[in-house]
């Protein structure tokens, strides 16, 4: 009787171990799957951010707050003033937006700063300043880069 009972217990133990192994295997597979999924989410989030940054760059170049009165350009005076106003909502999705003057000067005008970005996208823009030149008002323009970071 003892012999038969012992064999039965052994079978139960065997089955318990097999089932435990199946559960563990399933759990490990789930962890791998979850990790794979989170990578996918992160990757699609990066792609969305990039697309957003590119379209936002063009939107910022056309912001009415910094637009020249006549030409398709950015008004330097208006751009300098912009940081005095709380317009962070306009830069949603970006960590930084700035204008880097290339010619004739090489100053940097920060439009918005919400931290340091990982990736920067830029586009050339006309940066102009309305001045009185011999009593006649005209735009004095230079070349600049509009940089947006995410």
């Amino acid at each position: 009787m003892m012999k038969i009972n012992g064999r039965g217990q052994l079978r139960i133990q065997e089955m318990a171990f097999v089932l435990l192994a199946v559960v563990l295997l399933g759990f490990i597979a789930f962890i791998f799957y979850a990790k794979f999924q989170s990578e996918g989410i992160r990757s699609s989030s990066e792609q969305i951010k990039e697309r957003d940054a590119l379209s936002l760059r063009d939107k910022i170049a056309a912001l009415p707050e910094i637009k020249c009165s006549e030409k398709l350009c950015i008004d330097r005076d208006k751009a300098v003033m912009l940081k005095d106003y709380n317009l962070k909502g306009m830069f949603q999705g970006l960590t930084e937006a700035k204008i880097v003057e290339l010619y004739p000067s090489n100053e940097t005008i920060v439009l918005y700063s919400g931290g340091k970005g990982n990736v920067t996208y830029s586009t050339f823009v006309n940066l102009c300043e309305q001045k009185s030149l011999g009593g006649i008002f005209a735009y004095d323009c230079g070349l600049a880069l509009l940089e947006v970071s995410i």
């Binding site: 009787m1 038969i4 009972n5 039965g8 217990q9 079978r11 139960i12 089955m15 318990a16 089932l19 199946v22 559960v23 399933g26 789930f30 989410i41 699609s44 969305i48 697309r51 957003d52 379209s55 936002l56 063009d58 939107k59 056309a62 009415p64 707050e65 637009k67 009165s69 006549e70 398709l72 008004d75 005076d77 208006k78 003033m81 912009l82 106003y85 317009l87 909502g89 306009m90 830069f91 949603q92 999705g93 309305q130 001045k131 009185s132 009593g135 006649i136 008002f137």
Partner: protein, 300 residues
Amino acid sequence: MLKKARINGRGQTEYSWIFSLIIGAVIIFFAIYFATKYVGTSTVQSSAEIARNFDILLNPFASIGSITTLSLSKEVTMPADMLLNFTCNAAGDYDNLAVKLDAKNADWFNYKISNKYIFSENLHGRNYWVFSKSLYMPWRVDDMIYIVSDKYCFVGAPDSVMKEIRDMGDSQVSLNCSTGSKRVCFGIQNCDINVNYGQGTVRKNRETLTFSGDAMMYGAIFSDNSVYKCNIQRLMKRLAVQSDINIKIADKLGFEGCQTTAVRKGLISLKSAAESNNLLNVRDFAKEVGNSNPAECPIF
């Protein structure tokens, strides 16, 4: 003795069956639990992706006004049937887009949009008509974006409005009324939406909304009343900031010899009217500012 052992063996076998059934049930329970969790997570993920992509898709509509005075109009098709609810928060200065897949157990995903002004009612379906129009007060304040899913028909609209609707091509808005379409009447009463174009009012859902210009009128027609009022408030905040920047530009150019006294005075009044959200005063002062912008040294 042998009989007892046989009974015991059968008992052990039965016990092992019960044991495996319990463990099997536990495994099935966990499998169903994680599968349900995963389906829930993936629907939220889909809604989140759709919300972000939808926001990106609207970007061209939000900046087209800087290039052209023409309206941008396009039909947008979603990957699946969706529920889109727009609300607006004037204090927080943002529109809230709540997205949900039209499926059982799908959860809402909320997404804040603070760089656009979206005029819409709650939407349901797969195809939407999106168009935009710049708000000028007297300069371009920003582009107003309209999202429409219902059918509308315009009755007795002024020629300029009719031309614009016609030029937008295939859309949810037509000049011929069919059954099921919302009637928007100009100068005629007892329609779904009644517009008094001369006075600048839209009567809708037993409420009268004030507008100034066609861009605002479309907003009043196509959006939920509370969304309209809130977004106009947000736009007035923008206008106040832009007026302040232009006052400083007027000061700078005035110092260099430009005649900016009249425009500066108008800009101060415009800023004040925008801050107090007084639309009628904004309209009048915007006109005044537009007429006094010096031609030799334009401020805006």
